[in-house]
Amino acid sequence: MADLSQELFGAEFQSPVLLASGTCGYGEEYADLIPLDELGGLVTKAVSVEPRRGNPPHRVSETPGGMINAIGLENVGLDAFIAEKLPWLRANLQRAQVFVNVVGWTEDDFARVVLGLDDEDGFLGFEINVSCPNVKGGTLFGTDEQALAGLVKRLRAATDRPLIVKLTPNVPDVTVYARICEEGGADGLSAINTFPGMLIDVERRRPVIGNVSGGVSGPAILPMGVYLTWRAASACSIPIMGIGGIRSAEDALQYVLGGASLVQVGTSSFVDPQASVTVHDGISAYLDRHGVEKLSDLVGALDVPDPPSPPTLDAG
């Protein structure tokens, strides 16, 4: 049996497959449905300093090959997270690694969540969600080079725990942002968050989503996620969690070959709660079939052959 475990961020990941933020609640909700503690881990729903009510419905809808969501980062807030959610994670997940997804609208917001959690037990590190507007600049943290650089440095100073920045896809050149994160001291990257999108109900001539627009996820964004992961990996040397549209081991392995050490399964868990388990098992089968001893041998192992010049008829 091939070895799927990896030592990353100073911790042991028994599997490369994690559940993506916002698609597994705070873990507890899936506890009866899947063997959570056998996965690589999970990323919690975003946690902000104050509780957030979130957006009016409809908050989710199907799109071609995917879905759109505008939950509005509804969450219980830092204090209730510590009091009500973290104890469950601490008590129930021994081998699966937990990242807390952190969100804010100012640098201070982020820093307060990170500092507030830093001394608690029950999780490994932080995944910083920078796909939210910076109230100072109006842009998203994740699309504003200066705001991102400032934020990463500030959070790096605030914690010694693994600090992962989750990249926003709608930038002209993701390598710029990947490098900013690495230079600011981030331990890893998550690529990618959702794409802004919108659906219109043509019969009523109204947006389907209560918040008008939302984030598109699911298989539809798979090729974009693989591309951005590959680009980010080419620009920095910190580990990457590949995210976007993963349904199968084959999808996950595209991310791994492109340079991701870990992957996260999001939308597919809605379609089949077992998706993450199926992905794990399929990766294991792939390694056995190809005689690959350990998964880490595949990370970034994409072969980009030079096309023959002059071109000839090649074996596909």
Binding site: P57, R59, G65, M67, F270, D272
Partner: protein
């Protein structure tokens, strides 16, 4: 659909998520929620499926023997007190949970009536089947009078009746029934419909407005709510 595990423990008002999994080549579909419409002793459950958009069109094209991904039973059922008389108010496919409920409640000696509204006759579910499944008749209303009485189901409600009201159907109908219940001091439980992704409480997609100003997840705290828990427009 054969699912002994669901059939055994299901209670009226609960729902299932029905999808086609991740294996069908070229197909991506979020699962869709459906009220459990009936169950049979041999471990089958039934739903009432009306084609509305892409998802229901796809599910309706499934054939006997096709495999679907079933998740359930989910959510909170209707809550009945022993012996309580019950008035069920159904609009359209909102009939489904009452097919299940009316049969079971009658077997448990509740006094049950069922008011059932549709736009027009072609939509009306077979009254013979309703009788078979629920052990009673439905009082049918259509907007155009093409079947049963002409008008809206709310016209079928008796202001002097102190029975427990249960309602399931389109939101405008639920609003009308809620206004009726409020005006007449009746107890009302409603089953709401909101777009869902996970069906199990993880995505926070399916919220409805609570009377206390919170958004409430309808998949885990509902779909059945006491009408007083929700915020109705005034």
């Amino acid at each position: 659909m054969l699912s002994p595990d669901i059939a055994r423990v299901a209670r009226p008002g609960q729902f299932v998520m029905i999808g086609c999994g991740l294996d069908t080549p070229g197909v991506f579909m979020l699962p869709r929620p459906f009220s459990i419409g009936w169950r049979s002793p041999d471990g089958r459950i039934g739903i009432l499926l009306r084609v509305f958009g892409q998802g229901t069109r796809r599910l309706s094209a499934l054939e006997r023997g096709d495999r679907v991904l079933l998740l359930g039973p989910l959510g909170e059922p209707f809550r009945l007190t022993a012996g309580q008389p019950i008035r069920c108010v159904a609009g359209g496919v909102g009939l489904a949970p009452f097919l299940f409920l009316a049969g079971e409640a009658r077997a448990a000696d509740h006094d049950v009536t069922l008011v059932y509204g549709e736009r027009s006759a072609p939509y009306v579910f077979d009254p013979a089947l309703i009788r078979e499944l629920t052990g009673g008749v439905a009082q049918i209303w259509t907007e155009d009078g093409s079947a049963g009485s002409r008008g809206l189901v709310t016209q079928g409600l008796d202001p002097d009746d102190e029975a427990l009201l249960l309602a399931c159907g389109p939101t405008p109908m639920l609003r009308a029934v809620a206004a009726f219940a409020r005006d007449h001091g009746a107890d009302l439980q409603v089953s709401v419909e909101e777009y869902m992704a996970c069906g199990v409480g993880t995505c926070q997609g399916c919220v409805v407005p609570g009377a206390d100003g919170r958004w409430i997840k309808s998949c885990t705290e509902g779909p059945v709510f006491d009408a007083r828990e929700l915020a109705w427009p005034t």
